[in-house]
């Protein structure tokens, strides 16, 4: 029996919101390799949603990104000062 679109949507919603980031990474790589567009869109959107408005510190921690900027970093932050304007202070979870 085929699930209704609503049930599929609910399932998708539950799946992505309750999945750990590390598992989402695995799923997105698999979906890309297997060319499953729907799943790829779903998981990419979830990863993006989780990143949105987060601090630079949070993103570095969650995605294991090392800060390799030299003293130039102050310069790049000034160039991108517009990115911090008018935005609510970030969560730092």
């Amino acid at each position: 029996m085929v699930a209704s679109p609503t049930r599929k949507r609910d399932f998708d919603e539950e799946f992505v919101t309750e999945t750990k980031m590390s598992v989402l990474f695995e799923v997105v790589l698999a979906a890309n390799y297997l060319d499953i567009k729907g799943l790829l869109d779903l998981v990419c959107q979830e990863i993006a949603d989780r990143m949105e408005n987060k601090s630079v510190k949070w993103v570095r921690k969650t995605f294991f990104i090392e800060n390799d900027f030299t003293p130039e970093e102050e310069e790049i932050k000034h160039e991108h000062a517009w990115a911090w304007e008018g935005v609510e202070s970030d969560e730092d979870d």
Binding site: C44, V56, V59, D68, H80, A83, W84
Partner: protein, 380 residues
């Protein structure tokens, strides 16, 4: 696999879905991200995604105090920001926008391309072909040519003819500036009479072409909608609505609303009719809606739709900004502490004007605008 080593197409898929400001912050993560999130490929992908999914409307205004304000997200929270870096004056013309870049022409005919969100701006080199300012008039348009992946500025100019007898014989020169190559070229003389209009208008960019109202030089001099195609750089004609006066619709205005070409028919004491070409090039697809407001509001021109096209933002002759609700037929004021002489809407994008301007351009002037930083949280 480390996130940084993900296949590029996945990273682009993810980051294209982030709002502009989040991308800006992510560029500050590490050197790899500064690079990855600045490539033309990523910028284009982000823009495409925003165009399809974002409902945010942004406005750039020339205000009575001659400062430009930019607002992101007209619905909900209001954030009007003064845009630094430009000395504006009464004659500043906001020509139009494309892919998040706005073309502005200042009093001395200096042209600037601005990204109002990232605050980057660059001066468009002066044209060696430009007619002398005091002897001529110019109109401009700005758009994107997908065939050559190039942004173009088009200037229509003609000598000021005080001899009315020959006014209809005066030639209008068509000059095109290729942003990629950084050069101006005179491509043609326009086949139309642009002087008849009496007022200067910016070209309305839709479907890869810039549109102006003009008169044909054929018998009877009927009005036409002249469309300058940016790919092949020739004029074509677009059919006008059947119900407008063929002799006189040249005196109307063209604007772009909701991605469609629109003709504004302004009754002197009556309502303003907005004809929208729902399907480009199809005469039968012109549909009309009426803006029925009291004469006192003195509306001048519509700038954009908001709220699922239910409301229209308008500039008035009294230098104010108002919003007309098409369902209730009510009007309310907006940005009362700022006012507006003119403006245009634009999409958010990462497109960097300085990175686009070609190598051959002389008088390149990159103005790096440092935003006054009263308080920037350093998230280290």
């Amino acid at each position: 696999m480390e996130f940084g080593h993900f296949p590029q197409e996945i990273l682009i898929e993810i980051f294209s879905r982030l709002p502009l400001k989040s991308v800006g912050k992510c560029r500050c993560l590490a050197e790899l991200w500064r690079e990855q999130l600045s490539t033309p490929h990523f910028i284009k992908s982000h823009l495409t995604h925003q165009n399809h999914h974002s409902h945010q409307v942004n406005l750039i205004l020339n205000t009575p105090y001659h400062t430009i304000y930019s607002r992101s997200s007209i619905e909900g929270h209001t954030v009007w920001k003064k845009l630094p870096g430009l000395d504006l004056c009464e004659w500043t013309d906001i020509v139009g926008s494309c892919d998040g870049l706005v073309l502005m022409v200042l009093e001395e005919f200096e042209k600037f391309l601005v990204n109002p969100i990232t605050r980057q701006l660059v001066k468009v080199p002066k044209s060696p072909l430009a007619l002398k300012r005091k002897e001529s008039f110019s109109m401009h348009g700005f758009g994107y040519d997908s065939a050559s992946d190039d942004y173009k500025v088009v200037t229509l100019s003609y000598y000021d003819s005080t001899d009315n007898h020959y006014a209809d014989r005066v030639e209008t020169f068509v000059d095109v500036f290729s942003v990629k190559r950084g050069v101006w070229r005179r491509v043609d003389i326009s086949p139309y009479d642009h002087l008849c209009k009496g007022t200067l208008s910016s070209g309305a960019f839709v479907n890869g072409a810039l549109h102006w109202l003009a008169r044909s030089r054929k018998l009877g001099s009927p009005s036409v909608i002249a469309a300058f195609n940016l790919a092949n750089e020739v004029f074509d004609e677009i059919p006008a609505p059947s119900d407008v006066d063929v002799q006189n619709f040249v005196f109307n205005e063209l604007v772009v609303l909701g991605g469609c070409l629109c003709m504004i028919v302004d009754g002197p004491y009556g309502p303003m009719d907005v004809w929208t070409m729902e399907e480009y090039g199809l005469k039968q697809s012109w549909t009309k809606f009426r803006i029925q407001v009291d004469y006192e509001w003195d509306i001048f021109k519509p700038l954009c739709f908001i709220g699922d096209d239910e409301e229209v933002v308008l500039v008035t002759h009294r230098e104010t900004l108002v919003v007309y609700n098409r369902t209730n037929r009510t009007v309310r004021e907006m940005a009362t502490n700022i006012g507006a002489i003119d403006g245009c809407s634009f999409v958010e994008s990462l497109v960097c004007p300085a990175a686009l301007i070609g190598p051959k351009s002389e008088n390149r002037c990159l103005v790096k605008v440092k935003v006054k930083t009263e308080k920037i949280p350093l998230m280290l």
